[in-house]
Amino acid sequence: MLTSILALSALALVFGLILGFAAIRFKVEGDPLVEQIDAQLPQTQCGQCGFPGCRPYAEAIAAEEAQINQCPPGGEATIHALADLLDLEPLPLNPENGAESAKTVAFIDEQTCIGCTLCIQACPVDAILGAAKQMHTIIESECTGCDLCLPPCPVDCIEMIEIKKDMLTWKWPYPQESPPDSRPDSRLEASA
């Protein structure tokens, strides 16, 4: 009885020492994973995920405090990218966080703008130009379409407009792999 207790204790002690050494030798600092998750997020800083910006959300995912399906601007693509990165099952977008919509940019109706600078303070990426009592303008190329400038505007002069499709931004759509027997019908419709 005593032997066995002693033997096991000795074994445990030795192993404890080994692990203790390893804990010091292979100490990990910081969490590089957050960077990788953050890189997948669309950086709209819109807060629709329930976190104040993309990085906090990335930290929450890394700490397993948040699901990967809380980012409406990123939509399906981001969910898949995160699922791929973290080897998780892709989930459908959580409707509580909003729905995936077409990419938009903010547009300020310059006739209506009163130059209150409230939107400038709200903009997470400094994409609004203007000064107090001066008309404001969106730098379109920097706007992430996060909608954060909408609520603060006292005169509702900001509008989100869909990014227009032109020849340069047009892309081939996903091919229709229609089931064989529906094909003649669609052709009839088209020629009718």
């Binding site: 950086q43 009163i114 209150c116 920097e142 006292p154 081939w172 094909r183």
Partner: protein, 571 residues
């Protein structure tokens, strides 16, 4: 010059197909001038690169050959009036493009005089330096007429280090149906040869090879005759095979060299131009005429009199079809370009543009439509014919599942979209569209990634700035011993963002009081203006200013510095 009846080739490319040629129909009669339409619609984007910028106004009268839109940037090409007439509109019109979208176009009402603007031929191109030649070619709006539409002057610039060994003139025309280059070579071999000599001079190229497939014996004879006695000019007759006319494949056949995957032909000392581009360059230099028309093949089973027409740009396709006795109700699909790589048009009213080499009015019977799409059985027929030695079945599998990184691992971007794989696919899968879709999606992803990186940078910068300002403010306030209690300044680490947000909120709250009156006044003003009873804007602004109570220093500074920082970022 050397030519014989033996096929002349130094290399070979993998795969390829031998589709039904269908070229005979449109070469039965010689080419003709197309009728002058009442209206020409000239899209400003007929080439690769940036769209041209209009330099005329609506209502202005223009002469044939007058520049009506100038190139915008280096990779761009100007647009010239194809005939004399009046500008009646500059607006969005449907363009011949797979998207079916509209784009900015200039509309000319023709006056029927077809009066040329005064033009000045270059006396002796051999005396002119290549850079000047390129400039003339650029100003003449010459782009690659083989179908891609890349501004030609760029491809005539060998760069400072590279020595061009071979200039290849592509008269292969490997796509079925198309015969416009064939006709041009038969009828105007002299212009092509003259153009070739200009290009050779511009590039200072050692040798020049004109490549022709053996299904065009007449063109071959005619070119050989014209090329007689010219030093360093070779005419190569090659066995017919699609896609031999694709630049990289042709270079491999002629020179035996492989153009590197992400490189240009120039990097291995080869430049490749289409024969009709050569003719256009001849006209630009020797005659001084800009590019205003081109040879277009009008063919397809729905056309009773298929042939080649010399067509002014902007001519509606329906006019051409009419001239070739079309049976409109027979048309099942209208294709611009060849059947392998051309795209289907949704309407016959679209205009001919610089890259329009062929119009196929195809009937249902011709297309063989009644074949269902089946699952891929990975039979590998596609891999056997792929001229780039890709594995189309794997590309398809991953593109279909939207696994883009894996598709890229199978070298998706080396695909030249020649359509050989779709052609032989027993399952009738629209493979090429899958690849186009995947490429587009990857480009979009890359752009979005770039944008999000930029946004992250800006966001981080902003956070830093807000932090700094708060510190400064706090310091200032501490000095002034402001009565307002102030939150403690920053916390480092992960919680920073959250703090920032709280801070911004509380700041906003405090600001709200000070600003309420101002905003109310402004809102009232806006409402008033919306009703239409308002005063002029500047008066309103004055009025608002009068109502506005003096603002705190802090707020003012906040706003203006934000704007200033933004400015700095933009610059």
């Amino acid at each position: 010059m050397s030519h014989g009846n033996t096929p002349e080739k130094r290399g070979d490319f993998h795969g390829g197909i031998h589709p039904e040629q269908n070229k005979l129909q449109s070469t039965m009669e010689s080419s003709a001038q197309a009728r002058m339409p009442a209206k020409l619609v000239l899209p400003l984007h007929q080439h690769i690169g940036a769209a041209a910028e209009p330099i005329i106004k609506i209502g202005e009268r223009v002469l044939k050959g007058q520049k009506i839109a100038s190139a915008d940037g280096y990779v761009s090409a100007p647009v010239h009036a194809p005939t004399s007439g009046k500008i009646i509109d500059i607006a969005d019109y449907p363009i011949p493009h797979p998207s079916g979208l509209s784009a900015r176009s200039i509309v000319i009402e023709t006056d029927g005089c077809d009066k040329w603007i005064e033009y000045k031929p270059e006396q002796d191109y051999t005396e002119t330096n290549p850079s000047h030649l390129r400039n003339i070619i650029r100003e003449a709006g010459v782009v690659g007429l083989g179908g891609a539409g890349f501004p030609s002057f760029i491809k005539l610039n060998p760069g400072s280090q590279k020595k061009i060994k071979t200039l290849i003139l592509n008269g292969v025309e490997c796509e079925p149906y198309i015969t416009c280059d064939d006709m041009l070579m038969r009828e105007e071999p002299q212009s092509i040869i003259a153009g070739a000599r200009i290009m050779r001079h511009a590039l200072q190229a050692d040798a020049c090879v004109i490549a022709i497939e053996d299904n065009k014996p007449q063109a071959y004879e005619s070119i050989c005759k014209a090329a007689e006695g010219i030093d360093g000019l070779r005419v190569a007759l090659m066995p017919t095979r699609y896609p031999q006319g694709s630049e990289k494949q042709l270079i491999q056949v002629i020179t035996g060299k492989e153009v590197p995957s992400n490189g240009l032909a120039v990097s291995i000392g080869v430049v490749c131009h289409n024969v009709s581009t050569a003719a256009a360059i001849y006209r630009a230099i020797h005659l001084g005429q800009p590019l205003v028309s081109r040879m277009v093949t009008i063919t397809g089973a729905a056309v009773k009199r298929p042939r080649n027409l010399e067509v002014l740009f902007g001519t509606p396709i329906e006019e051409l079809l009419e001239q070739c006795d079309v049976e409109s109700e027979q048309i099942e699909r209208l294709v611009m370009g060849g059947p392998m790589m051309g795209f289907a048009l949704h309407d016959t009213s679209l205009p001919v543009i610089k890259t329009t080499n062929c119009i196929i009015a195809a009937t249902r019977k011709e297309l063989g439509l009644d074949r269902p799409v089946m699952p891929c059985i990975r039979c590998g027929a596609c891999a056997d014919v792929c001229p780039v030695k890709l594995l189309p079945q794997q590309l398809y599998w991953h593109s279909r599942a939207k696994e883009f990184d894996k598709a890229q691992a199978y070298d998706l971007f080396d695909c030249i979209e020649c359509g050989c794989c779709s052609y032989v696919c027993p399952s009738n899968i629209p493979l090429v569209q899958f690849y186009r879709f995947a490429k587009g999606a990857i480009w979009t992803q890359e752009q979005e990634q770039k944008k999000s990186d930029q946004a992250r940078e800006r966001h981080e910068f902003r956070q830093m700035r807000v932090e700094r300002e708060k510190l400064e403010r706090a310091a200032k306030r501490a000095k002034k011993k402001a009565p307002r209690p102030k939150k403690a300044a920053p916390v480092d680490g992960a919680k920073m963002a959250e703090k920032m947000r709280d801070e911004a909120m509380s700041q906003r709250d405090s600001a709200v009081d000070a600003r309420k009156a101002e905003i109310q006044a402004a809102v009232a003003r806006v409402q008033a203006r919306k009703k239409g009873t308002a005063t002029k804007p500047d008066q309103a602004a004055d009025a608002a200013a009068a109502v506005t109570p003096p603002k705190g220093d802090v707020d003012k500074k906040d706003g203006s510095s934000a704007a200033k920082d933004s400015n700095e970022q933009v610059q």
